[in-house]
């Protein structure tokens, strides 16, 4: 039942269809059903929105602190510092995302170069 346990051409489609598509879209479908019952301005909607925001914030923290793959090549303190610098620049320029992202990326790359400079 692993991804590589069958040579059939359709097996990757079934595997990705169940473990990828159904596993993610079922939450979106539950969300439609729940959202259909929520009234604008209600306490329940306020809670749902706050919960969605906290969930995404936790995902953001995870992507920075415990990344899978190539980002883990960069030093963790450098990653945190780069995000903080980018966010500060974003705030100081009237919430301009392009500036915040640019500064964060620049700090990450320059910092990484400096750390590896022998």
């Amino acid at each position: 039942m692993t991804y590589f346990s069958s040579d059939a051409w359709y097996w990757p489609i079934i595997y990705i269809g169940i473990a990828g598509w159904i596993a993610t879209d079922m939450w979106r479908w539950f969300g439609v059903i729940a959202g259909n019952r929520l009234k604008e301005g209600s306490l329940a909607l306020l809670w749902v929105r706050a919960t969605a925001t906290s969930l995404v914030a936790a995902v953001i923290a995870k992507l920075i602190l415990q990344p899978t793959g190539a980002l883990s090549e960069f030093n963790i303190y450098l990653r945190i510092f780069a995000v903080a610098a980018g966010f500060a620049a974003f705030q100081m320029t009237g919430k301009r995302i392009v500036v915040g992202c640019g500064v964060a990326l620049l700090v990450l790359l320059v910092g990484n170069w400096a750390l590896n400079f022998q």
């Binding site: 990828g20 729940a34 929105r49 190539a70 990653r79 964060a104």
Partner: protein, 242 residues
């Protein structure tokens, strides 16, 4: 301020998200994903299929991780499902914003596939200015076009970025959380969102240490409840002592 626009105008207005900075940033992350797919040995078809069917980058990475760890289908299903729970409250928060009394549920079920951070933040932010009867069209344009465009980006960039250095892929992956953070912060309509974000950013890593299997879910539910409570208490206080 309400403006008068047709449904097709709203659709194309939503589609503009593809070429906004957030949209292009997402395309960068998708090119990073294509490079990662080449790196681990997935075919072009598999990479496109995963992105098109899942349409949530963190879950795509978890699916790949599980596949190459040799996990059985039920175990992979569970791991991916746990990583995607946030899509439920995100969708539930979006639906009351965009639907009107005539919107059929089947349409919302189909369009819900396009709920992912970029189109979600964009639509939560922009649909407020639109009349209610065109908001679903706006989201269909934003979500559908950014999905179609970036699924194509993966297919096209697959071969081209095969020699992308690891550091470049890492930098592209770094941009994803950075622009999530800033777009979410900017789209906040009241301070309850700021409270929820700060608490989520703190609780996420805390629960990752205590209970890593369901850390995101815990951070969301505890953080969301806590920030709602704080918001309600502050507002009640304001009401009593104006």
């Amino acid at each position: 301020m309400q403006i008068n626009i047709s449904k097709s105008q709203a659709f194309w207005q939503g589609a503009k998200v593809v070429f906004t900075l957030q949209g292009l940033m997402l395309s960068g992350a998708m090119i990073g994903f294509a490079g990662f797919a080449v790196e681990v040995g997935l075919s072009r078809f598999e990479a496109v299929l995963m992105a098109g069917m899942i349409w949530a980058l963190p879950s795509q990475l978890i699916l790949i991780g599980s596949i190459f760890a040799g996990a059985a289908l039920p175990a992979t299903f569970l791991a991916v499902a746990l990583s995607a729970i946030r899509l439920m409250p995100m969708t539930a928060a979006l639906v009351p914003e965009i639907k009107n009394p005539k919107t059929p549920t089947w349409l919302l079920l189909i369009l819900s596939h396009f709920v992912a951070i970029t189109a979600w933040v964009y639509s939560m932010d922009k649909t407020r200015e639109l009349p209610r009867d065109v908001r679903v069209s706006f989201f269909a344009g934003a979500g559908g076009c950014i999905w179609a465009f970036n699924t194509a980006v993966i297919g096209i960039s697959y071969g081209i970025v095969s020699d992308l250095p690891l550091m470049a892929i890492g930098a592209l992956f770094f941009l994803t959380p950075v622009y999530f953070l800033m777009t979410l912060w900017r789209s906040a309509r009241d301070y309850s969102i700021y409270i929820a974000m700060v608490i989520g950013l703190i609780l996420g890593p805390v629960f990752a240490q205590i209970w890593p299997e369901i850390d995101i879910l815990l951070a969301g539910v505890v953080g969301g409840s806590l920030s709602t409570l704080i918001y309600v208490l502050i507002e009640r206080n304001k009401g009593e002592n104006p």
